[in-house]
């Protein structure tokens, strides 16, 4: 801290978080998403079948209407999930980490390393089979101060965890 200076600086010269090239999630992760979508669609199908399998109470127009609506919802689920996958990205800078997500709104969340409280590593059932993992980074922020990066290679996730742990240790 002794040789630390705090001169007035031009805000344009600061490193810009928005011009960082983001890393994308592993393409393998799409298989996990596919399974998730499959489950959702299956549930939707069951609901639709229950609703429409009493033909005496519904006219053909109603049945058609239900199936059309169901189809649109199903399509939206698939489309949003795939687009959501494409939109997710992360980057590790010298002093902070960046995570971008969101389809309708593009959200960019930034956590400085000196605010990280702890790091957790999650593996789902399918993810483990594919050798993928999810890293979760916690801060003391009470509402939405945390970042979850899914679809990382297990080794990468482990390395990220080590990196962050190292940063936290240094801060302490």
């Amino acid at each position: 801290m002794e040789n630390f200076t705090n001169n007035e600086l031009n805000i344009v010269d600061l490193p810009q978080f928005e011009s960082v090239t983001l890393q994308r999630l592993q393409t393998k992760y799409r298989r996990v998403l596919a399974v998730n979508i499959g489950v959702v669609l299956l549930i939707e199908l069951i609901i639709l079948l229950i609703l429409t399998l009493k033909p005496e109470e519904l006219s053909t127009k109603d049945v058609l209407f239900f199936w059309l609506g169901g189809g649109i919802i199903g399509f939206c689920v698939v489309w949003l999930t795939l687009l959501g996958f494409r939109k997710k990205g992360y980057a590790f800078r010298e002093h902070d980490l960046i995570f971008q997500y969101g389809v309708i709104a593009t959200n960019t969340k930034i956590i400085p390393y000196n605010r990280v409280q702890h790091v957790a590593l999650h593996e789902g059932l399918i993810s483990r089979y594919l050798g993928l993992a999810q890293v979760e980074i916690y801060t003391a922020g009470v509402q939405g101060g945390d970042i979850k990066i899914p679809g990382l290679l297990k080794d990468d996730a482990e390395r990220i965890k080590q990196l962050l742990m190292g940063k936290i240790q240094k801060e302490l």
């Binding site: 801290m1 969340k109 930034i110």
Partner: protein
């Protein structure tokens, strides 16, 4: 007066009275809705039964108070250096607090205790925000001596420790930092929380109605209402009268509530921390540590500005997930001068207001869309499909709502401002109660920027600052400017290692 605290001690004898009133208060609070129902049934209860009921209650409360008195003992165990409190009639509790762990001993006095001239003692440890043990009624000398004993042992045990403990003699001459008098509380009472109070009245009304409904007596209330036949005579007159009654009740309720809750609000300075105690019936104590403060909000409406009172909310880092409110300190009524003193204590100086950033006009349009267009889209088809409704009257009400809401949103948009300074970020919100949030840049935990895809070409977006006490967001401002600020904040947070707690 030498008291041997090593032997189990009882509270002072007169303390039975405190316990009596305390028990009575708790019983009354618990049975209030039931009593009301009985009262409404009025005529059917004979005087004899009423008398018996009163005598019975008196006897039961006396017994409970006496048993609470005899079963409550406290002492210091010299062998293990522990403060031990026995409590309870049927389910007994033994509270053991290690003397070393004691952070704070507060001597308190609420209204009842003041009348009877006894004092309460609250013992706090670091672990939780609630009081570890509380003695309800002992004499002042005894309280002081107990406090000295409790903290004395602590000092002997941890001479080298750096734990902050207030000196026993600091209680004798505490430096009062701020004291809110009745007039200020009255001012706050008549100028705030209208909507909350109206809500409370409605809830009360409906809960009484619900209770009556359960016992099949709701006609009683309906009859009472229809009995007021003058109401039908003139709608305008009855509406005016209704408003008058409602506002009187709201005023009274607000004043009474504010006074009960914040009576004798005192802030005492103690080694850079503030000790806060308030309350008429239940005295509450909290500690404000400047380093734990995450952000400060002060709010003021037009009347309060004229009367020079403002409400201050200080949010500390959340330590207990379940008790968020414990980390929020409210100063119900202070003037500009006192506000500045509090800010100075927390930040060491007056936070400077930075560069102004305003929101895009689309923010107003979006707010109007949410609060007017969507509700109307749902309401109008319903109104048109219910033939029993007087369409013209309903549309009158709807028009009134639209006008009111539009005015509200317009002023809310007008006040919506963001100020970014070198070390402080401020946000101004509200239409009637205008609130200012002050956030120190170093307290930022994480930052989220957000932009809807159709706002990309317009170059507007939002930012959310995550702190350990909640979020502060600013919506739909120039995105380029926001991103510059974000880079600046990140630089500030990352380049020095300030403690945020």
């Amino acid at each position: 007066m030498a008291v041997n605290f090593h032997e189990p001690q009882r509270q002072s004898k007169i303390g039975v009275l405190v316990l009596f009133l305390d028990t009575l208060y708790k019983i009354l609070r618990g049975f209030a809705p039931l009593l009301l129902v009985v009262f409404i049934n009025g005529g059917k209860i004979s005087m004899f039964l009423l008398f018996m009921g009163l005598v019975g209650t008196f006897l039961i409360v006396s017994c409970v108070a006496y048993l609470r008195y005899t079963n409550f003992t406290f002492h210091i165990d010299p062998n293990t250096d522990e403060f031990i409190v026995y409590d309870g009639i049927l389910s007994k509790t033994k509270t053991v607090v290690q003397l070393q762990k004691i952070q704070q001993v507060n001597i308190t006095q609420n209204l009842i205790q003041r009348i009877i001239r006894v004092y309460g003692v609250q013992v706090d440890t670091a672990g939780s925000d609630k009081h570890e043990s509380e003695i309800k009624a002992i004499s002042h000398e005894l309280a002081l001596e107990l406090k000295a004993k409790l903290l004395d042992a602590h000092k002997v045990a941890t001479v080298s420790s750096t734990t902050e403990v207030d000196e026993p003699n600091s209680e004798i001459k505490p430096s009062t930092f701020l004291k809110i008098n009745l007039i200020s509380l009255f001012k706050v009472g008549i100028t705030s929380n209208y909507i909350k109070s109206v809500g409370l009245i409605l809830t009360f009304f409906f809960s009484v109605w619900g209770k009556l409904h359960e016992i099949g007596k709701e006609e009683w209330l309906e009859d009472k209402i229809s009995e007021q036949d003058w109401m039908v005579n003139s709608i305008a007159y009855s509406i005016l009268f209704g408003f008058l009654v409602l506002f009187t009740v709201v005023f009274l309720m607000n004043v009474v509530r504010t006074v009960i809750r914040y009576f004798n609000y005192t802030m005492t300075e103690q080694k850079g921390s503030l000790l806060i105690s308030f309350g008429l019936i239940n005295t509450k104590n909290t500690i404000l540590r400047p380093s734990r403060v995450q952000f400060v909000t002060f709010s003021q409406n037009y009347f309060q500005k004229k009367l020079d009172v403002l409400e201050l909310k200080i949010k500390q880092a959340v330590t207990d997930e379940k008790n968020h409110h414990k980390d929020r300190i409210e100063v119900p009524g202070c003037n500009q001068h006192e506000k500045k003193a509090i800010l100075k204590l927390i930040y060491g100086k007056q936070p400077e207001q930075g560069m102004l950033l305003k929101s895009n006009w689309r923010r107003l349009v979006f707010a109007l869309f949410l609060t007017i267009v969507i509700p109307l889209c749902i309401l109008i088809p319903i109104v048109n499909n219910s033939p029993e409704l007087q369409v013209s009257e309903v549309y009158g009400v709807i028009m009134g709502y639209v006008l009111l809401m539009a005015t509200y949103q317009f002023f809310a948009y007008k006040t919506y401002r963001f100020f970014v300074g070198e070390n402080y970020i401020m946000r101004q919100t509200g239409a009637w109660d205008i609130a200012h949030d002050i956030l120190e840049t170093d307290k930022i935990q994480a930052i989220t920027t957000s932009q809807l895809f159709w706002h990309k070409s317009l170059n507007i977006g939002s930012v959310t600052l995550h702190t350990a006490a909640g979020n502060i967001s600013f919506y739909l401002a120039n995105f380029e400017t926001l991103k510059h600020y974000v880079n600046g904040w990140l630089y500030q947070v990352e380049s020095h290692d300030h403690n945020w707690m």
